[in-house]
Amino acid sequence: MSTIGWRDRLQGQMDPELAEEIEVFENQVELRKDGRVDERVFAETRLRRGVYGQRYDNGQRHDGVEHRRLEFPSGDLTKGPETLWDAPGMLRIKVPWGGLTPLQIDVLAELAEEYSDHVLHVTTRQDIQLHYVHIEDMPTVMRRLAAVGMTTREACGNGVRNLTACPLSGVCRTEAFDVTPHSEALFRFLLGHPDCQDFGRKFKIAFSGCADEACGLVMMHDLGAIARVDVVDGQPVQSFDVYVGGGLGTTPHQAKLLAGQVPLGELLPTVQAVSRVFARLGEKQNRNRARIKFLVSQVGIEEFSRLVREEREILPYDPRWTAHLEDGLLPEDPARALDTGAEDDGADPAFLAWRENNVYLQRQPGYAVVTIPLPLGDISSGQSRLLADVARRFVGDTVRTTVEQNIVFRWVRLEDLRDLHAALAEIGMADPYAETIVDVTSCPGTDTCKLGISASRGLAGELRERLAAKSGELDEAVKGLRIKVSGCFNSCGQHHVADIGFFGNSRKSGGRVVPHFQVVLGGQWQENAGSYGLAVGAIPSKRIPEVVDRITNQFVADRLPGESFLDWSGRTGRKGLAAIIEDLKQIPEYEDDPALFSDWGNPREFSIGDIGVGECAGEVISSTDLELSFAESIAFEAQVALEDGDIERADDRAYRSMITAARALVRTELPDVPEQDDVIVREFDTRFVETKRFQDRFAHGKFARPLLERHASGQSVATEEHARTLVEEAQLFIDAAHACQIRMAGATSATQ
């Protein structure tokens, strides 16, 4: 068998510690197969090795008409709670700071062919994912990766995830200095570090070479480091500003400054001290409050910084803190020395368009960075091999993945640009859309993610196709916008930091469920994702292309000279933005437009999870629907108030919207519930929270908490940050109320 064959063949080619880890994991696989390891223990074991579940892995799939059981040969054997052994799985491969070599690309291509579906998928955190991999193949895949220096260790689970960094590090014109060697040192230092094994939740780190551009997206990370140079006594001194407590997800937080001007040699111990504080004080029981952002909010950044300093003082010395500095920080070398240095600027329009969008001139004269856009982050195994050859020819080992799900080649000689373009065009990889509105980013969504609500990839693909078709006519101001799509509120597609973002949700109409996307406008990409967009309304999936058209047209029509999308959306205001798309919210009768009831790229009638489609098609809109939409308009008022700087009103409206939504649910069982907050909250708590009916299968009870806490406190919270959080939470509360209503309708129709 090739499994044993590979193990023997690769002995000695793997890092011994990784080899040992994989051996242990392989044994765990065998033990679990024999039922000798508990499924929960096995699930955590595999997650810590990057082995995720995938959609339908509970063995149930809605085929468009009914739920069907997938009859796998291993029957009921599981690899985790509700996760069948034979069900396909996803493997996430860490690519620290995005760095890849052609040899690694070759091996990834081999693995995609032999164990997956011939596609490598670049994620929004510079990782590579393989989908549809069987659990029993995982150890061999891991060994083959380890033999070329790649790991899946801690790519999932409650640990330090992939470490991301700006793909221009070292060659960027505006950076303070190259963060690559520091990122690499920190990555190696933290991988498997004992101080990082006891986290209550995942921990994401990013590096950026400067504060102003987007690049590293430091502000949305659990921990981030931004490079800076200060002149001290006439000498330039390099250091990092270290930020902590950012994150997207359901309640986005901006990171806060933990410590400024941290000397290079202090970076690793500082992060180690943060890890210890997080491991010791971070929430462990409630997953939904376990990210470090909650701890930082709870104790305050000053106290958190003090705890970290205190911890730093007592850390036992570790030579690895500074080993990378002593080795000397070697800059990356170009694969090809400059010859003429002159760029051939011919007039082929395809080349010129590509040159304009996909080429960035490096700080080093004569060289450029070239972006190779991957549609939806995908590249086939065959293409990967060809691309590796092109890399060998032009840039050697200086390839990187990006958080925009593309690949970049660094150190391209300007004199080679034409030949490189021709070589890429020959393999179909010279799309001239890099970092334009056509280059839409998306999370996996309903294609493979268990949590997906709407088809983010389906929508992203559709938008990409439509925008590419009219890219020639797009206004310059529109061309540079960013669109990002997430399949649900978890924000893996990073929609919060796009000009135009979407996240999946659903609404009920006439007994059926309609896929929707919440429209999020005006997120900031610059300044390391310096501020987040806010929601302006949920629209049926199939109408999102129309939303993009209307929003971009309005922007072009209204725009003041030089005005950015961010500024325009701020000036237009939430009310103004919502008005542009308001009429698109209306859901017609099923018979009038059945297409609206299925999602992009998926002809099956839409359904969420195990919820059956109600049999009451054609039913007129229920009073619950009406009340929930009323709650939504109150939430909208809250957002407008927030925008106007009226914090008190924002807080009050957010709270009111949740009360209204809770009342809508309570009224389904207690039609005469009085208009008294105490009674509504009490009834909601006993009927929906305590009975766990309001719980999301994955988010559990988190959506109910803001209402219960805000009600219990009995008063308005004064700060803008609290109000902003409450406003976001109110929207999620209403989404959860919709979902709860859908579940109840499903349960009712199933029992009828």
Partner: protein, 194 residues
């Protein structure tokens, strides 16, 4: 030899006539109606990837695809797990499945002839670099198997096998079939051809 995965691809007669996205609704229906084997799970859409795997019915044991690899559109079927029978039977069964899928697609409104594949040529790929590196030695080992698998598909038992691709690619052999039997016969499977 007990390879990890084997795939057989038949080429579309008129690749330009078929829009890959057009197979998405029938593929979902085939899953619902158990029209394909191999414990189908879901439809994966990769038509946006140039020269990629196209649109697939991904299953536990078998993947069926409108496949654009090598820049040539075809129907490929891959055995991923739980092989049955001899290697000859496994290869021939995959050719049968590819033929069956072509016939199913030809029966679809809006697809029709665009789903037709030729029978004069097949590509057999062994996706197992450990057992079957892409070299002449492997060709020597598998050629008799491929002959035996495809000869009954030719009226005069005349097939020619050539290895294709470089050492970094999986082992692949192009099988040219002279006087090939009609697709309907291929679709009947091993027993009918014996």
């Amino acid at each position: 030899m007990n390879p990890h995965r084997i795939s057989v691809k038949l080429y579309l007669d008129d690749p330009a006539a078929l829009d890959a996205e057009a197979v998405v609704p029938p593929f979902h229906r085939y899953i619902r109606e158990d029209a394909v084997g191999g414990i189908p799970i879901d439809v994966a859409r990769y038509a946006h990837v140039v020269n990629g795997p196209g649109v697939l019915i991904i299953g536990h044991q078998l993947d069926y695809a409108i496949d654009y690899a090598e820049g040539r559109a075809g129907i490929s079927v891959t055995r991923k797990r739980d092989p049955e029978g001899t290697l000859v039977e496994q290869v021939r069964d995959l050719a049968t499945e590819a033929a069956r899928l072509s016939l199913l697609l030809q029966g679809e409104d809006g697809i029709g002839d665009a789903g037709r594949v030729g029978t004069g040529e097949a590509l057999v790929t062994i996706l197992d670099r450990y057992e079957a590196p892409n070299d002449d030695e492997t060709l020597v080992r598998v050629e008799p198997t491929l002959r035996e698998a495809f000869e009954p598909l030719s009226e005069c038992a005349a097939v020619e096998v050539t290895r294709v691709g470089g050492a970094r690619e999986p082992f692949a052999a192009r099988v040219a079939i002279t006087a090939a039997r009609p697709l309907e016969r291929w679709a009947e499977g091993s027993a009918a051809l014996a």
